[in-house]
């Protein structure tokens, strides 16, 4: 009992370490990549290549004045950033990051929470993320924030459907909700993005929308809404939203990588024991990094959608496509082609 608890805490610590560092690193990557795409230098003063820029930003956030608007709904205003961080730092508990480890004859699966409802838990927890945006928008008592919050809720609900359905399609041939089983399946067969390319694209587009990234960043479209739901937030609270956004991105990237690109596994590589765990974790992180790179690349390449276009895309294109994908996969599974 106790040793299990310790193992779980250790595993959580590992994953936490990975995911908490995403935000500062990605911040730097994003700004440099954006600068590169826009043909300008970008932050390059603090440290070599501007590598210490995130640290400087963090320091700045720490020392800035924390403003709470006078007309804000205080309690909800304080709660919103916390609610943003909560799902962000819980969803990754179901992501497996290596082969089973055997210590003292005891098998330890390298997942923080090896529960049967795996993916469902991820979806359930990530669906709670919307509350932070809505509440932030509402509590700020600012019309731009409110509009941002309303947009966020509508957008997240709409794209969650397509996302969930594309994830479901992956589960069909595997016959399990556990991500570890999905990884094992991909090890035994082929990475899922090959047979389920349609589902992968639906997942990709929906995850852009779920993370409120360009081209779907309507809840915080600066040309229309200043900064959307977090207009009134400053200092550490703003940093919390920032952190949550990048952590969510990383978590979705981890899910995507696990569902479609073999997770921690590499084709043809079967290493077990501690070395396997390390290689697995490294592989997973590497894959996540590539995925995040795509996020950044897309963000600085595509223009923003109009709100009605966004809704139309979600309901009239992605949802039917994901249903089609589900049916196709179901038929293929029944026919034994998968």
């Amino acid at each position: 009992m106790t040793s299990e608890l310790v193992a779980t805490l250790l595993k959580y610590a590992v994953m936490f370490g990975v995911f908490i560092n995403v935000a500062p690193i990605m911040n730097w990557v994003e700004r440099r990549a954006c600068a590169y795409i826009q043909d300008r230098p970008g932050p390059n003063r603090v440290g070599p290549l501007g590598l210490f820029q995130p640290l400087a930003d963090a320091a700045k956030f720490l020392f800035k004045e924390d403003v709470t608007p006078a007309a804000a709904d205080k309690l909800l205003y304080l709660m919103a950033p916390v609610l943003a961080l909560l799902p962000a730092f819980t969803t990754f508990v179901i992501i497996p990051f290596g082969p089973d480890l055997t210590i003292d004859g005891r098998t330890i699966p390298l997942v923080v929470a090896p529960v049967e409802t795996g993916v469902l838990l991820f979806l359930a927890l990530s669906s709670l993320a919307v509350y932070s945006l809505v509440l932030a928008g509402y509590a700020s008592n600012n019309k731009f924030s409110l509009i941002g919050g309303i947009r966020a809720s509508a957008q997240l609900i709409s794209y969650e459907l397509a996302l969930t359905l594309s994830v479901l399609a992956v589960l069909l041939p595997v016959n399990s909700f556990r991500l570890a089983d999905i990884v094992a399946y991909q090890q035994a067969h082929v990475w899922n993005f090959i047979p389920q390319i349609l589902g992968f694209f639906v997942f990709l587009v929906a995850s852009f929308a779920e993370t409120n990234r360009l081209p779907f960043d309507l809840p915080e479209a600066e040309s229309e809404l200043i900064a959307g739901f977090h207009t009134e937030y400053s200092a550490m609270r703003f940093a919390a939203f920032f952190q949550a956004e990048y952590t969510n991105m990383a978590a979705l990237a981890a899910l995507g990588v696990t569902l479609f690109f073999g997770g921690w596994s590499l084709p043809g590589v079967h290493i077990s024991g501690w070395l396997g765990a390390v290689v697995g974790l490294a592989t997973l992180v590497a894959k996540i990094c590539v995925c995040m790179g795509v996020f950044v690349w897309v963000r600085w390449t595509f223009p923003r959608f109009r709100y009605d276009q966004l809704m139309r895309l979600g309901w009239k294109v992605l949802l039917p496509l994901s249903i089609l994908n589900l049916i196709l996969v179901a038929v293929m599974t029944l026919a034994g082609w998968l």
Partner: protein
Amino acid sequence: METLIFLIFAALAVASSLVVVIHRSPVYATMSLVVTLFSVAVLFVLLGAPFLGALQILIYAGAIVVLFLFVIMLLNLQKEGESAGRRRGQIWVAIPGALIFIGMVGLVFWRAGAPDLQPLTPELVSLKGLATALFSDYLLPFEIVGLLLLVAVIGATVAARRAPDAAEGTGLPPREDFVAEDTARKEARS
């Protein structure tokens, strides 16, 4: 351990549900409902229904309640004002009624004693059993529920459509008429 978890989340559920009912602001009420739903989801897991727990959060907390919040913001609902005097009576009947109800149920359980829970069997927890039952014995209800959802989607779309008078041929009376009819009736009565 289990008892402790139960007690914590039961208390949380009761407290947050009280907030749902008592708090004047719809947003706070809604947020407390999320807490209640979450606690109940934990209890589901405790009872050996992890799938339902996840669904509870995914569907209820993740979608239905967000819909509530969305509508609250869309309509920009404020706190309820002072309630009109003659409606007070309702409260003074409802609360004792509820207390009697709880007393009654409590008395029944007190009399019946408290048998321990059945031990958790793997069959009960397994998703496969649930799914098999759902898609064989309960296939017809399942399909009917699917149909119901479809009907609800269509109904909601039609009902929430902006300005019925702009959409010709819906068979709905134009809004002005509706209001005018109402006023006319009130005048006729007074």
